[in-house]
């Protein structure tokens, strides 16, 4: 209860930020952070909880964004259609990527996900008639929101998008937490810990892995649609393997398999480049060093380490 209360206060504080600060810098930084929270929480479902490594979260992010771009170009639909459509389409692509995961483990699966990520990126660049190639695609703002014919508000510009993305993040994080605590989430952990044992007690490991891949991809899809409508223009270079690597680094440094750890990792790795100043262009170098240090010194991540320290303290007390 105490934890829930502090989370509610945190969300209210985040919602109040646009009123409290001058200029757009902090709000746009927080918006980016929220999008990464969705992406990383999604990846944590399949990698942290189900134990299946994936370097393809950036590709799913792109598939979500391009679902919005292509649908608005060809079908003239809006955000409220794109959001579910983007989640469904990326979910299906996640299912596709989950199929090799049924036969491959560890490094071999990671390589397949890198290949998938690369194929998607090359598709976005090369298939110009469908994706617009390097020129990208325009995406309309979310625009007017009305309910039963009554106009409520207009979502355009930084502030409104920030509140929209904050709402979406809260909803998705709550869904993720419920998923993890559900029967399905427990089965993911079982498959991660010991697949042989999981099947010996009657759990369908195939179903567990595929659902984890689908859920994880659908999260990235939602992030993609949200970001596309905010930015107004999407281009392939926003969906490279570097995005995927950043998401993996955030998850691992924060603590994969713990629920709030990866969110901590997001905060850390989005703030770090801002503090580096002119060095920010070398941020992937810093992320890489941090990742190696994290894996070598505390593979359980920040959250896992905190939990461990707390457990030893309790054991001593």
């Amino acid at each position: 209860m105490k934890k829930n209360l502090s989370l509610v206060i945190l969300v209210l504080l985040l919602a109040a930020v646009p009123f409290l600060v001058q200029g757009s810098y902090i709000v746009s930084l927080l918006l980016l952070m929220l999008v990464y929270v969705i992406l990383t929480t999604g990846l944590n479902l399949v990698t942290g909880f189900c134990g299946q490594f994936s370097f393809a979260q950036g590709a799913f992010f792109g598939i979500g964004a391009y679902t919005a771009g292509i649908m608005s170009r060809d079908l003239h639909t809006g955000f409220w259609v794109h959001l579910p459509a983007g989640m469904i389409i990326t979910g299906l692509c996640g299912l596709l990527l989950g199929i090799p995961a049924l036969r491959l483990k560890g490094h071999f699966l990671a390589i397949v996900t890198i290949a998938f990520q690369t194929i998607v990126y090359l598709g976005l660049v090369q298939w110009t008639s469908f994706t617009g190639g390097q020129n990208g695609l325009p995406v309309e703002p979310v625009g007017d929101v009305s309910l039963f014919g009554a106009h409520l508000f207009t979502i355009d510009g930084l502030r409104a998008n920030y509140w929209l993305i904050l709402t979406a993040t809260v909803v998705l994080v709550v869904i993720a937490e419920r998923l993890v605590k559900s029967r399905l989430g427990r089965e993911w952990v079982a498959v991660r810990d010991d697949e042989v044992l999981a099947s010996a007690i009657g759990l369908n490991a195939t179903r567990a892995k595929l659902t984890a891949f689908v859920a994880s991809a659908a999260f990235a899809g939602a992030a993609g649609v949200l970001m596309a409508h905010y930015m107004g223009n999407i281009a392939p270079d926003d969906y490279t393997i570097w995005i995927s690597c950043t998401i993996v680094a955030m998850m691992i440094i924060g603590g994969k398999g713990s629920f709030y750890g990866p969110i901590l990792g997001v905060a850390l790795l989005t703030l770090l480049p801002e503090m580096l100043g002119d060095w920010a262009r070398y941020r992937m170098l810093f992320f890489g060093v941090l990742l190696v240090l994290a894996i070598a010194l505390m593979p359980e991540g920040i959250a896992g380490r905190v939990r461990k320290l707390r457990a030893t303290k309790e054991a001593q007390a």
Binding site: R183, V189, A200
Partner: protein, 263 residues
């Protein structure tokens, strides 16, 4: 026997490359029966257990479980039909609590769907509470209720074995396959184990296939014993008769003992 056996293995074959691990083995476990599966190291006992549960596929032969042909079914489907097992090397979900380990084994008997649990429907919450209560009750039965919230791998080997048994029991299987449950246990714990296995049969009517090296356990519990040597069944019958069978004695300690005994 009047009723059909719960498990029937017919002419089971299994090769690993050029090595024949199990060769034309047929055995059956009757309802409410405790059948021992013994033999020297490397005789194919654990392979046989893995074949029965479906973790390994047989190269030949067929399995009937409760009268149904399960030869082509994957392990999780066989488990859902009512097969549970323990492992020679203890296997538990290490990052989960003892209680959650038991809970997972009961998933196959739960009615509410994942969506119900995500939405927090009353029926799903009630079912989950009921299963947790059941897990507690079972842990009490094993005198281990104080460990419910502890990570499973924090426990001693003997306690972990008991958790494995409780995990098998919670789904109320028709057949429980125990792969060397007494291995690594201290003598008092072995006595406890014998009592528990007997109660599993007497109170819950379970049929049990017991792989065991400890002959005392086998003699005390088994109605029938099957002996494997190099993947071949060399004897079958009442435990006392089997352990005195010269073929079995030879398989265990070789033929040299007779000559040495004469000299």
């Amino acid at each position: 026997m009047s009723t059909a056996p719960i498990l029937e293995a017919r002419g089971i074959h299994r090769r690993f490359g050029g090595v024949v691990a199990v060769k034309d083995v047929s055995l059956s476990v009757g309802v409410g029966e405790i059948v021992g599966l013994i033999g020297p190291n490397g005789s194919g006992k654990s392979t046989m257990v893995n074949l029965i549960t479906g973790e390994l596929e047989a190269n030949g032969g067929s399995f009937l479980f409760g009268g149904q042909d399960v030869t082509a079914l994957p392990p999780y489907k066989r488990a859902r039909l009512g097969m549970a097992r323990s492992f020679q090397m203890i296997r538990l979900f290490g990052s989960l609590s003892v209680e959650d380990n038991l809970l997972l084994a009961h998933h196959i008997r739960m009615q509410s769907s994942t969506l119900d649990t995500i939405l927090g429907r009353a029926q799903a919450v009630q079912e989950e509470d009921a299963v947790r209560a059941k897990a507690r009750e079972l842990l009490q039965w094993f005198e281990m209720e104080q460990f419910a919230k502890r990570p499973a791998t924090d426990l001693s080997i003997g306690q972990q074995r008991m958790v494995e048994l409780a995990r098998g029991l919670i789904s109320m299987p028709k057949l429980f396959l125990l792969d060397e449950p007494a291995a690594g246990l201290s003598p008092p714990n072995v006595d406890r184990l014998v009592g528990i296995i007997r109660r599993m049969r007497d109170e819950f009517g379970m049929s049990i296939l017991l792989v065991e090296h400890d002959m005392r356990v086998v003699r005390e519990l088994c109605d029938q014993v099957v002996v494997l040597d190099s993947g071949v069944m060399i004897a079958q019958g009442h435990p006392e008769a089997v352990v005195n069978d010269p073929v079995v004695v030879e398989a265990y300690i070789g033929s040299g003992w007779k000559r040495r005994a004469k000299a």
